[in-house]
């Protein structure tokens, strides 16, 4: 038997994985080889030394601290989710409010107010407002036409402009609905 092989067998022998014949061969080699015998003794001593060492145990409040850590983690996750919800919801509300303000403004942007503002010399504001008014009027005209002549729905549905409008409305409504849901969930969480 080679010394390298004997060393491998020593490790297996410590784990009780040598059969009787192998164990005898190992013992024969150990009896003949001083270096291997020394190694075997050290290994055996180590093995019993390690076996005698008790298992190290954590502090008694270990489980409670893990529960606390998991709760903190969950709270952090909820906070993050609700802030994302509020952000998206605000965008949705602003989008809806923007459309409403535009429509309202178009209805109000009639000569008396317009003339007063123009006379006050607010040319720049007037330009901006006029541009907005054109947009609002287009939106208003489209909504009015669709309301008065239902036959237009089919035609409008073919047009890309209508699809854009529909998409915008859905986005705004969807975002707002999401926001409402999150706010209500949060309320349930805070006041169960």
């Amino acid at each position: 038997m080679q010394c390298s092989e004997s060393s491998e067998w020593m490790s297996l022998h410590l784990d009780g994985l040598l059969d009787q014949e192998q164990a005898l061969r190992l013992e024969a080699h150990l009896a003949a080889c001083e270096a291997c015998r020394q190694e075997w003794e050290a290994m055996r001593w180590l093995s019993s030394f390690l076996k005698a060492e008790p298992v190290a145990a954590p502090k008694p409040d270990f489980t409670a601290r893990i529960a606390l850590r998991l709760r903190q983690r969950e709270a952090r996750r909820r906070r993050l989710h609700s802030s994302i919800g509020v952000l998206i919801g605000s965008v949705g509300l602003w989008a809806l409010a923007g459309a409403a303000v535009l429509l309202l403004f178009t209805m109000l942007w009639q000569p008396p107010i317009r003339v007063v503002l123009l006379e006050a010399g607010l040319a720049l504001i007037n330009d901006v407002l006029s541009t907005l008014a054109v947009l609002g009027q287009a939106l208003y005209a489209a909504a009015y036409a669709l309301a008065v002549r239902p036959a237009l729905w089919a035609q409008a549905f073919d047009g890309k402009a209508w699809l854009l409008l529909l998409g915008y409305a859905f986005l705004a409504l969807g975002l707002t609905a999401l926001w409402m849901r999150i706010v209500f969930q949060r309320r349930r969480y805070v006041f169960p």
Binding site: S11, E39, L50, V55
Partner: protein
């Protein structure tokens, strides 16, 4: 279904008590493995806690065909090896002029006092002299009392690889013990004393 399987299922349904039962059942095994791997009570505590947080967040990935103990010990083992690797990188990147305070252990840990028996210290030193992969198989063999097949499952390798790692680890430890014994003989003590004299003269 066995008890563990039931606890896992209940935890997945959101039952925190079931998870507390799982923690209670495995905390000693996980903590002990972390302690043997990292060699410090405070680091072991952190590592064991992190292991259970990972177990909780990845519980859906657990395959019930696998033994739960193997799965959980594998998570702890990977965490410790990663931690040691990160630590080594940190040490390598630090300025060499820093004081070597980590060698002094962590005396502020109250439970450390009880742990710091002489044999415990000696075992810690012996284990820390091994590479992390070898330390892992020794810890799993001696304190978890796992078979080669079970160790292979935890480490994620073959039984023959475990066989050779255990052999190498034991061989390295034996060499250290033999070297230490040599130093304890009268001749060895003289040698030590000689070294001390030289050190004092030079430093």
């Amino acid at each position: 279904m066995d008890q563990e399987g039931q606890w896992v299922a209940e935890t997945l349904r959101g039952d925190q008590h079931a998870f507390a039962n799982l923690v209670d059942a495995y905390k000693v095994a996980v903590y002990n493995l972390c302690y043997r791997m990292l060699g410090s009570a405070s680091e072991a505590e952190d590592a064991a806690q992190e292991t259970f947080v990972r177990v909780y967040t990845h519980l859906r990935a657990y395959n019930p065909q696998q033994k739960f103990s193997s799965w959980i010990l594998a998570i702890a083992a990977h965490y410790c090896i990663d931690h040691l690797r990160r630590q080594r990188l940190k040490w390598l990147s630090l300025d060499e002029a820093l004081p070597l305070s980590p060698l002094a252990g962590d005396p502020e840990q109250p439970e450390n006092a009880a742990m710091e028996r002489e044999s415990c210290l000696e075992i810690r030193n012996l284990l820390q002299s091994l590479p992390a992969e070898y330390r892992l198989v020794i810890a799993l063999r001696y304190w978890q009392d796992l078979s080669y097949a079970e160790i292979a499952q935890v480490v994620g390798t073959t039984e023959s690889a475990i066989k050779s790692r255990l052999h190498r680890a034991r061989q390295m430890l034996a060499e250290r013990v033999i070297a230490q014994r040599r130093l304890e003989t009268p001749w060895g003590q003289q040698l030590q004393q000689g070294k001390r004299v030289i050190n004092n003269a030079v430093l």
